[in-house]
Every structure is written in structure tokens, then in C-alpha cells.
Symmetry: C2
Amino acid sequence: MQHTFRFELEARAPDCAARAGRLFTPHGEVETPVFMPVGTQASVKALDQDDLKAIDARIILGNAYHLYLRPGVEVMKKAGGIHRFMQWNRPVLTDSGGFQVFSLDGLRKVTPDGVTFQSHLDGSRHHFTPEFATDVQIGIGADIMMCFDECTEYPVTRDKAAASMGMTLDWAARCKRRWEEREASGQALFGIVQGSVYEDLRVESARATVEMDFPGYAIGGVSVGESKAEMVSVVDWVTPLLPANKPRYLMGVGPPEDLLAAIERGVDMFDCVMPTRNARNGTLFTSRGKMNIKNARFVEDFGPLDPDCGCPVCARYSRAYLSHLWRAKEISALRLNTLHNLFFMLQLAALARGAIRDGVFRAFKRAFLDAYSGTGREGV
Amino acid sequence: MQHTFRFELEARAPDCAARAGRLFTPHGEVETPVFMPVGTQASVKALDQDDLKAIDARIILGNAYHLYLRPGVEVMKKAGGIHRFMQWNRPVLTDSGGFQVFSLDGLRKVTPDGVTFQSHLDGSRHHFTPEFATDVQIGIGADIMMCFDECTEYPVTRDKAAASMGMTLDWAARCKRRWEEREASGQALFGIVQGSVYEDLRVESARATVEMDFPGYAIGGVSVGESKAEMVSVVDWVTPLLPANKPRYLMGVGPPEDLLAAIERGVDMFDCVMPTRNARNGTLFTSRGKMNIKNARFVEDFGPLDPDCGCPVCARYSRAYLSHLWRAKEISALRLNTLHNLFFMLQLAALARGAIRDGVFRAFKRAFLDAYSGTGREGV
């Protein structure tokens, strides 16, 4: 690793908590706010790494649980780490796998020591502890690693949320200790704030996590079924308690409007499967709102998906052609839709960053949402 | 259309019938011998047109039957033709759809007038005549169109093959008449030689088709189940009867060894779904023979697919990563495999062309087959 992780704050909005910053990682810099495409299995679904470069993705996600099961940490190590394995020389953030383990059906036994679970691939049994999850991520070679946490379901009782949050704090301390023992400081480790939709729990979790002093902080346990208002409340409670000089990552968020709401409240980093999953379902983001390429009216619509979009797909192909590829069940429909949707999210974060630096974030947000909520106009 | 189709012969092998030439079409030139990727539905499966440019495909196929059913000729015309519809500014050859119509299960009634059939998409009834198939291809905007022919199954009795070949000749005359009436000479129309594996029928078909004077000639009715020896015999019977100054297209061929056998006998143009279909089944072509990426030994093999390959996939990704993408069922595995296999076939035709021009085709063919038949060596 070439240098230690750090974050620099570059600009703050004058009238809200929005901020622009820069992450420094062993694999280069990342301007924030940033949207991070999800590449669970060391691959952003339907794309290759040339595609990611073409839409200028700056950092992508991997998933420790999935990569531990397949191809396995030993293969990753033999390849020289995830960057060489997948030929991606920009930063990678790995989720610890906590979210995936707790989402598994079937056997899953949680003790204070860790979690025993069955692989979704072959039913084999595995045991993840905070220490092991940290080792896995170090072995994968992530630039940013996440503490192994318990992501509570929604809704959950206050008692259950409190107990889970307490365990996540214990686990965070153990992850940090292992990370320090391994002297892996070139790879940043982020703490995760839990506590469901209970303000006192979120406050307690945020304070205790910050007390442990991590290179960055995530807000977990959102995008699990709660309302948008509840999600925004969680961000409102937590972000003021996080140190200004550390990056903040809202896990699993989200739609464009949620991204902007969280940026306004001081969040720097986002990931979500929504743009890629929507793309594979035929739902496309445009500056005028969402459109469904399956709609019959696009069969003879020879304009671009989004006249305001600068992505490689809008530069080349018409709605009619993309509609045809969808109807013809061509694989390339999935890739082209994904390229467009990811570009849209990357661009949204980049435009927000520019607006913050120019001191006009709130005006930008209003203008974006005004156009975006105009679904149905101009045929989209 | 900018100029009329023509073909120029550039070089002949001193010791066999192999030739190098150049097609001139309204959408540019094509050096021969050439392998033409199959883009049945105005899309080469798993790729987009940027991908085709990246591997330098010079001409691709479309299929009149498929495009007539979806998106329909009217959509094609409104788009400004297939090149604008799919944003591909190099030549397109369309098959007439005869092969597809005759491959259909269910209702299919052949009369001297034409064929009534049911759509494979929705069961709707349609009627193709030679005139209509020509109109469809003119409407699609193909640079090279094929006569509507009957492709006989294999095996077939001599009587049935003779009757079918006779009907194909009648239909070729009707296609040519319609093409002349429509004054579509910018779009070339190729005649197709039929006659199954019967030498006298092939000779009769070739002589009568050449008598009609087409801009180019195809050998149809191969790659339908006959042996390699039978396929080569058909080429041996037909090519000496075709005029030297017109291009020759062997339809639906084929594996690398068949391509070289036909080039040696004076064929200029080839198409086959094999490289793209094999790619989607995990079978990859290399200079040392075929390899199956599903094989367990590739999980930890960090070398390129083919050390001798200059394709974008071999330049970037390892066998281990491609093996992982396959096992993880990632869509990108299908695309990357397709890019590699098509590059291999395009490159094979390009290398054959170079060898012909250098007067060393037979030595090239021997060296290629020697390495290629060494399957199992070097771990492939």
C-alpha cells in the first residue's frame, strides 16, 4: 500500500450541511460526494472494467461474504488482491458481509462471538467473527473495509435494536483491534452506526463509535424497509455527531432524491444496487424522471434516452433501438441500460459536488428535483 | 446509396485457389477473406456496436425474417435503415430468412409462389414470396441481400433435392427481377447455389445461378448436418464454376479448420453463430485449440486466455477472472467470451488474407492447424 487513507474537506455549503471533499486511498483519490457502483462478486453486474472507466466510476464496492465464498480469499491473495484479480486500479470498498449473512434464509446462529451460517451457494457451514471478517477484507485487499456489524431488520423492537446495537459496538472494537494488530492502516476501516429508527439508540451508537476513532463512519441499518422520513431522521440524528474531518457513508442509499437529501445533511458516500438492478428490469433514470423502456411508445421513438445525458449510450443509441434490444431479449440491453443508469447516478453526485463548491447546492437540488419529478412530461 | 457494389480481386495463392480481394459497398470496403459476425436481430449477441468496432469487425449479418417480425420493416425505414437503427456505419449483409422459415416448427406451407409460416414469436401467419423477401431486405437497407431460397434439410433424397433446387432457381430469377424493378443496384443481391450433397445438382445449380449474373454467389445448404468431407466436396464442385471476379460466400461456416479449408478452395466470405454461441456456452477458441472456461483448473490460472491473442479480453483479464465470472453467472462473462471468440475468427480471416497476399497461405494453414490441433497442451 502506497499511503495511508485520509480525507480532506474541500468546501461546505453556506446554508446546509452539504460538503465536498476528497478521499485519498492506496489506489488513488475519490472526490466526494460520490456514488459507488456495487460490484458484489468483483464485477459490477453486466459491465466490465473498461465500461466502468468509460463512465468514470471512481470507486466500486465488493462484498466480503460473497468473495470469501467464491472465488475465496486464497484465490484473491494469489491473484495479488482484488484490484489485480479484476483489473481495476481504482479504489475498492468492501462491505464486511454482515448485511448478507443476516439476510440469509436457513441456518444462522448469532452469539456474542460471531455468526455461524450456511453458504447460499452450497449449504456449507461457515463462522464469521469480527476478527475473521476483518482478516477476510484485509486479504481481499480493499482500500476501505467495513466493521462486521449486525444490521437489524425493520421493524424491530427497541429492546432488540438496543441489544443488537450494543453487540455491533463490541464487534466494532474487536474489528479495530484486529485491524491494528494486523498493521493494515493503509486499508481504512470504517465504523458503522446502528440503532434502527430509535433516536436515543442512534445517538448512543454514534457517540460510542466515534469514541473508538475510525478513519470513517457509516450509517447502517437504513434502506431496510423504513419510510423515507425515517431514513432522513436517522441521518439528521447521526451526522451532527460525526467528526467533520472524517468521511460519512450512508449504506445502501439510494434513489436520486434520497441521495440529495442525505448530501444536504452532510453525507459523502453512497452505494445502492438500485441503478443496476433497475437497469436489468428495464427502468431507466432520466433528468425528467424514471422511464420504463418496455413501454410500447418507445418502439418508434428515435430520440436518445435522455436528451440531457452525456453517457455513451445516449450519445449513440435511440430509445427505439434500446426498446428493440429489450424486446428481443438481447443481453446487450442489460449492459447498455446499466451503463446509462450508473452514469446518471455518478453524474448526479458529481453535479452535487460542483454545486456545493459553487455554493449553490440547494438551488441545484431544487432544480434537479423539479425536473426529475416531472415524470410523464416529454414522453418519459 | 453512394456507389454500386463491386468486388476486386487483389491476390491469388500460387498453389491453391485461395484469393484475397476487396468488397466495395455503400458503407465502405471489406477486405476478404472475411468472417462476418452474426447479428440476427440487429445486434450481435452480448455485444454492442462499440464492441464490434473494438475488435474491428468490418461487416455483420442481419436476418430479414427476424427483423421483419421485430421490430418490423416500417420501424427500420422510419429509423433510416438498419445502419442508423443500430448505429453501425459499416456494411450489413442480410440473409433472406429462407433458412429460418424452413427451420420453423409448426405450420409451414411451401408452394411455388412462396412460403406461408407462423411467427416463432406469436404464432401469427405470414407469407414470404421471393419478391416480398427482396422488398424486405431493400427496406431494411442491407448492403448485401440474399435471394430467397429453400435450404434443404440433411439428409434429403436426390429427387427432393432436385425439386427444391429447381424451385430455388425460379425464386432466384424472381428475386433478381424484383431487385431490378426496384432499381436497388446500390444494394447487391447474391444468388445462392443449392443441391444438397449431389454433385450433378450442385453443378446444375451453380451454372444456372451464374447464368443469371448476380453481383456475388453464395453456397447454401451446408452446415446442416452433413460431414466435413461432404461440405468440402460441395465447395470443390461449386467454386470452379463461379466467376473469378465475383465474391463467394459459404453460408453458415464455420469452425476454424472449415474456414481455412474453404479459403483454400477460393471462398471469400463466411458467417457462423458458432463463435458467439460457443462463447455463451463457455467454449473459447485459442491458438492452441478450444478450451472450456468452466474447467476447474482455470480457477487459479492467472494467465491470459490465449497468450498469442491480441484481443481486448486477453489484454486485460486472466483465465482465473473469466472463470470466476462464469461461475458467478455474471452477464459480463458472456460478453467477454464473445469478444474473444469473435476476435479470434476475425483475426483468423485477416491472417489468412495476409498469408495469401504474401504467397504463403498453405504454409500458414499448416502451421495454424498444427498449433490448433494441439488441444490439451499448455493447459488448454
